[in-house]
Point group: C2
Chain length 100, copies 2
C-alpha cells in the first residue's frame, strides 16, 4: 500500500512501532488498523536516496492491508489494455468495518 506521512505521523510510527499515516482526505492522523484491526507492526523503516520517500517493512496483522479486504492494494494488473483484478478478497469489507 501507499499512504502519506507528515513529520508527526513519522515520529509516531517510530514511537509506537506501528504504521501511522497522515490522511490527507480526512486531515488527521491515521493509525493504520484503527478501524479494521489490520495494524502494521514495524519491522524496518527505510529512506530513499533523495530522502522524500519512506518504505516501511511491516508485519501486516490479518494479512490484509487493503480496505477492499485484499492482501495488497495493488490487486489489479494491466492485461491487454485492461485493468484486471487478479488477487482474491480475503475478507468481506463489511465484516472488516463492522457494517452489518
Amino acid at each position: 500500500m501507499m499512504a502519506w506521512m507528515n513529520r508527526e505521523s513519522l515520529a509516531l510510527t517510530v514511537q509506537e512501532d506501528q504504521a501511522v499515516y497522515w490522511s490527507r482526505s480526512r486531515g488527521k492522523l491515521w493509525r493504520k488498523g484503527e478501524s479494521s484491526g489490520h495494524q502494521q507492526v514495524l519491522k524496518d523503516i527505510r529512506l530513499d536516496c533523495d530522502a522524500d520517500v519512506i518504505l516501511l517493512k511491516v508485519e501486516q496483522k490479518g494479512g490484509i492491508a487493503c480496505h477492499t479486504g485484499r492482501r495488497s492494494c495493488f490487486y489489479r494488473s494491466l492485461q491487454d489494455g485492461e485493468w484486471v483484478s487478479t488477487d482474491p478478497v480475503l475478507k468481506d469489507p463489511d465484516s472488516i468495518y463492522g457494517k452489518h
Copy 2:
C-alpha cells in the same frame, strides 16, 4: 525506487515494455536507464485500490536501480534515531555515468 509518471510515460511504459517515467525536475520523459544502461524491463504493471499509484514489477538490468550505484534507493535504515546506510554500492556512480 519511486518515480513519477504522467499519462504519456505510462503509455510508453506499456508500449516499450520498459519503465518510462516523468522527470518533474527536468520537465521531460525519462527512460529509466537511458544514461546508466540500467533499464527496467516490464514484468507486470499494477494499479492500487484508489487508482492513483502504479507498481511496476521489473527485471532490473545490471541489478542496480539507484543512481548511487545501489540495488535499491531505499538503502538507509532508521536505527536508534539515525539513518544508517546498510546496502552496499555495487558500482561507482562515476563509472555508471561515464564521468572519468
